[in-house]
């Protein structure tokens, strides 16, 4: 069936058709059509993902890698097929480089706890940027505390962009690990990963990319990017939650010690000593998120079935339209205007706190995120306590941007 799915022709991109694939988009909230502009927090799911998960539970469910019976074998085949879909999707060289995790946070913690603990010595440096999500800050703080390593932060420019020169200033002989977002979840800034990879490798450091927002908006080729680790979550990629991916170079996974102990990840266990399975099993202790992985595979099939270049152009059009229309609302200021941006736009309105804005917008059916977006250090750099954020996925429309603008005018009335 999956072979069939892969040979299906790619559909021309038509947003009206795409919207029909997402059942939730036809519902109303507060008596208004749902205008969902918070896909950067978690995206909605197409019918294909829901169906694949129902099918997995209803017809093909058993634990994986264990049962010597047909159903378990079937579930195992489906789970491993999802791994292969992920591999192909990010152009990794081998399935064994794909570790399934609970999510991106789990994947980054895995790298910090396993690779970080293995290589970091007192005085070694971990380089982050000022725009990181807490998920790509706190795991490094924990491991820095345990190893005596030090965290260095690459600053951002006023428009939210990051200059390669700033990386060159901070990365040095003491740098062991560089960990950066592919795309900022607050500002939408796309980071120049290839160049950062070159700078990192020049000093022998490894580069981890937090791909949560990156993989959603562009086709990712981990080999072309040149990074060493790439982490992302399924739920932002139109797949289910409770599943994430860590991609790492085979030789790194081979050298890294296990992150957690348990079933699945062992070769031989005795009370004297246990030996580990090979990657990726070494890093998948316990019963894995079987059906979420299958759901992620279905999300990837779904994306492979649409014209992603056209989808990316559509998202860019929405972003540019929003960037042009938002500042026309009195008091509204854009936060994050870098040249190279994905379809994520933060903004503020004079005299209105983002939380109050989000409450009023919600009553018009418009869902935006308000707050610090799990990036408090970035809020400090920007000199705000919070922003409102609209993020656009493949299913959003210019009409929805218009609905946001109308709702903002109304919010001004209510909050003045």
């Amino acid at each position: 069936m999956s072979a069939l799915a892969r040979t299906l022709p790619i559909r021309a991109f038509d947003v009206a058709e795409i919207r029909m694939d997402f059942p939730i988009l036809s519902r109303q909230v507060h008596g208004k059509p749902l205008v969902f502009l918070d896909s950067a927090a978690s995206a909605q799911k197409p019918r294909a993902v829901l169906d694949a998960m129902t099918q997995a539970f209803e017809c093909e469910y058993a634990n994986v890698h264990r049962g010597a019976y047909w159903l378990s074998e079937k579930a195992t085949t489906n789970y491993e097929a999802a791994r292969e879909k992920v591999r192909a999707f990010i152009n990794a060289t081998s399935d064994s480089e794909i570790v399934f995790t609970k999510g991106a946070t789990d994947a980054i913690n895995l790298v910090a706890a396993s690779y970080g603990r293995m290589v970091l010595k007192p005085g070694d440096e971990i380089v982050l940027t000022a725009l990181e999500h807490h998920s790509n800050i706190v795991p490094w703080q924990l491991i820095a505390e345990q190893t005596g390593a030090v965290i260095k932060v690459v600053p951002i420019n006023a428009d939210g962009s990051v200059s390669v020169d700033r990386f060159a200033d901070v990365i040095c002989a003491k740098t062991r690990i560089v960990a950066v977002a592919h795309v900022s979840n607050v500002l939408g800034t796309v980071l120049p990963i290839e160049l950062i990879a070159q700078l990192s490798h020049k000093v022998g450091a490894k580069l981890l990319v937090d791909g949560c927002q990156g993989i959603v908006h562009e086709q990712v080729d981990v080999q072309a990017l040149g990074c060493d680790f790439y982490a992302f979550s399924g739920h932002k990629l139109y797949g289910p939650n409770a599943i994430g991916v860590l991609w790492a170079r085979a030789e790194l996974l081979a050298a890294m010690p296990p992150y957690q102990g348990g079933g699945e990840m062992i070769a031989i266990v005795t009370f004297e000593k246990s030996t580990w399975a090979e990657a990726p099993a070494k890093f998948e202790a316990g019963t894995p998120p079987i059906v979420p992985a299958i759901g992620l595979g279905a999300a990837i099939d779904y994306l492979n079935g649409i014209d992603r270049t056209a989808a990316a152009a559509h998202e860019r059009d929405l972003l540019h339209y929003a960037m042009a229309e938002l500042p026309k609302v009195p008091g509204v200021k854009l936060v994050g205007t870098a040249q190279n941006k994905a379809s994520v736009q933060s903004f503020t309105m004079d005299g209105a706190h983002p939380h109050d804005l989000a409450t009023v917008l919600d009553r018009s059916g418009v869902c935006v995120r308000a707050g610090h977006h799990c990036a408090q250090p970035l809020m400090d750099v920007l000199g705000v306590t919070a922003t409102a954020r609209a993020s656009f996925g493949i299913y959003n429309t210019r009409g929805e941007v218009d609905a946001l603008i109308v709702a903002l005018h109304k919010a001004r009335e209510v909050l003045q």
């Binding site: 507060h30 008596g31 208004k32 005299g351 209105a352 706190h353 983002p354 939380h355 109050d356 409450t359 009023v360 009553r363 308000a370 707050g371 610090h372 408090q376 809020m379 306590t385 919070a386 209510v414 909050l415 003045q416």
Partner: protein
């Protein structure tokens, strides 16, 4: 406008009524109390709002001065502002009762009449004003905004330095 949409619009008006917007934009006692007998920082980790509440309680157990300073949404700033006005010159024990009434108003457990019945009649006017915070009851995620200043004051009275909406 559909009937549902009208209810929603009325809810919004109830939440952002003039009194709230006025206190939200021009908070009273937005400062630090001199010679404070207690100080506490309140923090809502969900939205990053932070406020500092300071108070001076005299030997007789009466609030001589209460102030609240910080950054936050209209609801939390208005609530803080109204709290500082309501509590001034009240005995601490009565202040705790006021907090109790406000909390129940915000969660929709009681109405204004019931709140008044809980407290001395001399506070009727203050309760009328504080009841405007009750608009949050239709907005469950915003209840914490309204109660944050009060929780912060309470933790300051109880000798803790900090309050967070996630603990309370």
């Amino acid at each position: 406008m559909t009937a549902l949409a009208q209810v929603e619009a009325d809810d919004l008006k109830a939440l952002y009524q003039e009194l709230i917007l006025d206190h939200g934009k021009n908070p009273r006692n937005a400062r630090l109390v001199e010679h404070a007998s207690c100080t506490a920082k309140g923090n809502n980790p969900l939205c990053g709002d932070r406020i500092t509440v300071t108070a001076r309680v005299n030997a007789a157990g009466v609030f001589e001065d209460v102030a609240a300073e910080g950054k936050g949404c209209a609801i939390s700033i208005a609530s803080a502002s109204m709290m500082t006005e309501a509590l001034k010159n009240l005995p601490v024990a009565t202040g705790r009762q006021v907090f109790n009434a406000v909390q129940q108003l915000c969660t929709g457990k009681i109405d204004v009449a019931a709140a008044k019945a809980m407290l001395p009649a001399t506070l009727n006017d203050e309760i009328e004003k504080l009841a405007s915070l009750g608009g949050v009851k239709q907005f469950p995620v915003r209840v914490k905004c309204a109660t944050l200043p009060w929780h912060t004051l309470l933790s300051c009275l109880d000798g803790q330095a900090d309050a967070t909406t996630e603990k309370v």
